[in-house]
Symmetry: C2
């Protein structure tokens, strides 16, 4: 086995290098590329995607995987080697079905989609985006259909982000979640509104950036293996375990955007920086799934970063930096302000109690689009109806409505769902963590995040994508993805804040 | 022919995409990469180099080139198509001889070399760099020997940068150049020293950067197709005709570093931004050679940027920005200050009259290294002896001596030579330009660079690398590379400044 395995690893390393090179090009495109660089960049990224795909889908690769798969049956099925082969086998069987031309076409459509979405959003003109989105949905359906038979055409799309998860599972989870969230929101709506006007003053960008950097340093972000830049849409990307970068958007007139955005992306990055070195340059050196990934960004952003304990430690420091904004604002008032619940048009600004509802809107629309029960051109109208139904508000324009998110413009159908699942998982983990670390709260109050980080590294981060998401969640918490802990968490938190 | 040509172009475009992707990774490595990202980055860049090399050296590629070469004989030999095939044929015949493993090894040795050179330079410890440089020289010799027979082992190395040029040509040119330069320097040494102390004050970095940006904008650098970042070693790179980036080092305590560095790199970039769109994504969309490239950076930096006419326009603006440094300094004093001739240990700080002597030192050492008449470990000693011989000074340490330049650490043997040739070509062109544009001086005094840029675009830039360097120089100036105009230029300039 050893010789074959060495040959396989060499091939896999190369493919990994190419994918990471494409990631650098993507990062640069968002962070630094001059305006007219786009057309060459589209070609470069799609060429790299094509080559990576071609190199992964050779007969030689398939033969090697098959050969090793047979021999590896004697090895511990939880070993890195056995898991790598399992993941390669799964990915190979998927990839080999996808024609190279479709990969190139999807990559190009995604680049053009992003570019034209940005223009459409700037002008709040959905119609200008319609042809690109139509093309993207068409290509996603074409892609999904390669994987017939399936229970639902959305299944193969979801599977790219959440290996093993089905559309029916998500529907089931959301069915349980929706009434509890709605009930909570109704109760909160009856209470007095929280004043968070102090978050909207003028906050110097440089100071915001520096405070955010101090916070994430304390949480465990390793700057010798990463950096932070500014982009219109924050994201985390890695070019290997030792180069995990985050980007942030900072709003001069609204503190939470940059602050919680930094913690959120750092959460993703701390996860990736914690993957075991042994998995480097293989497909195991990634997060287990997008939902698991999001569980980490949300855990750090919300369960840690919007907790009272956290601000007991950090608030005096923040007050010191922004006395003109925060001098008269007590810790309690600040804590309530950053946890204010109110329906909003914009997902990324949503509080923890409403956030998942934004995802449900998108999930319903995405499934309808690929089921062909909704037409692309009718999206704005249906979007606005759903916003009315879920939140009682109507977006003022398409830029604030259906055009607000970048995801569809990249052809990422199925992606949003993982955000809600991530929230649920974060609360499941949080209950376990608090059982294992009895004095976690008082550690956080003292600005000590080491035990927490250590727990997460051991239970989640180091394993990379050795385990499928449901498997990992069950391994760590005892059950698969389950909305109950998140509902308990929300009820406890908001009962306190709103005296429910 | 058309069908074969289309197939060929598609293959060439892909290779071009991969090479540009590698360029993005290189740029990021210098400008932004976190410290620990290096080891993954080394792998990524060498994987891309290997793939580009493999894709270029297939039998299919060779067959296509041969087939088209036959058919293209009927086409105008100066057409883009005919020239592309000519260049591809030349490059193919060279590349196909180089084993893939050697390409990977050279790429890795270059990455490691750069990294360890930086450390060795920081500690001024040449011995720490010896094993890496030894390896690099070894690989370069191995590479050169692939191309036997040759007149000199340095020929194939030089040919990578200056297609068609021979070591003997360079020796001949330097033989003519050396005595005239030495004579001029002796005459200047007898004259009163120029005071340029005002260049060493404290110059705010942000203001320096902004003034530099204003200058290069005026010269014609297109920011919608480029950007400027800060690196330890300034360079220009392109990821396509529409994304040509420059980097600059700014010294708070010495104005010329950032100012002339910006103009120099912008010179390279304006060249690449001027290449005809029709040549995009092919090997013709590059400068004709490094010497031609350097002729452009030096033309803009020195013949334009260190001229009196240029500062008649820009000096009042500069004075306005730095009144505390320049208020008492007349235009004449400033002009003389930036053109002060004095031997220095550092090549990049050398004036126009001594610069080529630094190159001759390096040329002599490089040829000796590959001829094996000098050992790597003895370099510091011989370096210092030559510095004494040429300039009458001895470097204070290796960081200021043999370790000062990055080039050898990347395995770039033959590269330095092109700097001196670039100087010579810039003066050859300058004589032609001044014949064609009679009032150039008064245009420059008014800050008008359009006619000059237009001339250069038409005669040089748009052609990319359609012509070999000697061919292009002869086409434009009537003779091949010739030191006489540069000597005339130096004599005229310094006779005036030093009243010789």
């Amino acid at each position: 086995m050893n010789k074959d395995f060495e040959i396989l690893k060499k091939l896999i390393y190369e493919i990994n290098d190419i994918e990471h090179a494409a990631a650098v090009l993507n990062w640069d495109q968002e962070a630094f590329m001059p305006e007219k660089g786009i057309s060459d960049r589209v070609n470069q990224i799609s060429t790299l995607s094509k080559i990576a795909h071609e190199k992964f889908t050779t007969d030689k690769m398939g033969d090697l995987i098959e050969k090793i798969k047979e021999k590896i049956k004697k090895v511990n099925p939880e070993s890195d080697e056995a898991r790598l082969i399992k993941v390669l086998d799964r990915n190979y069987k998927k990839s080999v079905k996808v024609p190279s031309e479709l990969v190139t076409e999807m990559s190009k459509a995604a680049s053009l989609g992003q570019q034209n979405w940005a223009i459409a959003k700037r002008n709040s003109d959905f119609s200008a985006f319609v042809p690109y989105l139509k093309k993207l949905i068409e290509l996603r359906k074409q892609y999904a259909k390669i994987f017939t038979p399936y229970d639902h055409i959305y299944d193969p799309l979801l599977d790219d982000f959440e290996p093993g998860l089905k559309t029916a599972d998500v529907k089931e989870i959301f069915k349980k979640l929706k009434p509890s969230q709605a009930e909570l929101l109704n109760k909160i709506a009856e209470k007095q509104k929280i004043d968070n006007s102090f978050l909207f003053g003028v906050y110097n960008k440089k100071k915001q950036r520096s405070f955010g950097a101090d916070v994430i340093t304390k949480l465990g972000y390793d700057w010798s293996r990463g950096r932070q830049d500014t982009t219109e849409h924050p994201f985390t990307t890695n070019f290997g375990i030792d180069d995990v970068r985050i980007t942030t958007k900072i709003d001069k007139n609204y503190l939470p955007t940059g602050l919680f955005g930094s913690i959120h992306e750092a959460g993703h990055a701390i996860y990736e920086q914690g993957i075991a070195k042994e998995l480097a340059r293989t497909p195991l050196a990634e997060g287990a799934s997008l939902a698991i990934h999001e569980s980490q960004s949300r855990l750090w952003e919300n369960l840690v970063g919007r907790s009272l304990a956290f601000w007991k430690y950090f608030y005096p420091k923040l007050q010191n930096i922004f006395p003109e904004n925060l001098d008269g604002v007590s810790l309690e008032k600040f804590y309530k302000g950053i946890n204010k619940v109110a329906p909003t048009m914009i997902r990324v600004e949503a509080d923890e109690a409403t956030y998942n509802m934004h995802i449900m809107v998108r999930f319903e629309l995405e499934t309808a689009l690929v089921e062909e029960t909704v037409n692309v051109k009718d999206l704005p109208e249906i979007w606005n109806l759903k916003m009315k139904e879920y939140f009682g508000i109507t977006p003022v324009n398409d830029a604030q409505g259906v055009l607000q998110d970048i995801h569809w413009s990249m052809g990422a159908i199925g992606y949003f769902t993982t955000y809600a699942l991530g929230n649920l998982i974060s609360a499941q983990l949080w209950e376990c963590i608090n059982r294992d670390i009895r004095d976690l709260n008082s550690q956080i109050e003292k600005g000590n995040f080491d035990t927490l980080l250590h727990w997460l590294r051991n239970k989640i981060y180091m394993h990379g994508s050795k385990y499928e998401p449901q498997e990992l969640v069950e391994k760590v918490t005892g059950t698969t993805i389950n909305p109950a802990p998140y509902i308990r968490y929300l009820k406890a938190k908001y009962s306190d804040i709103y005296s429910l």
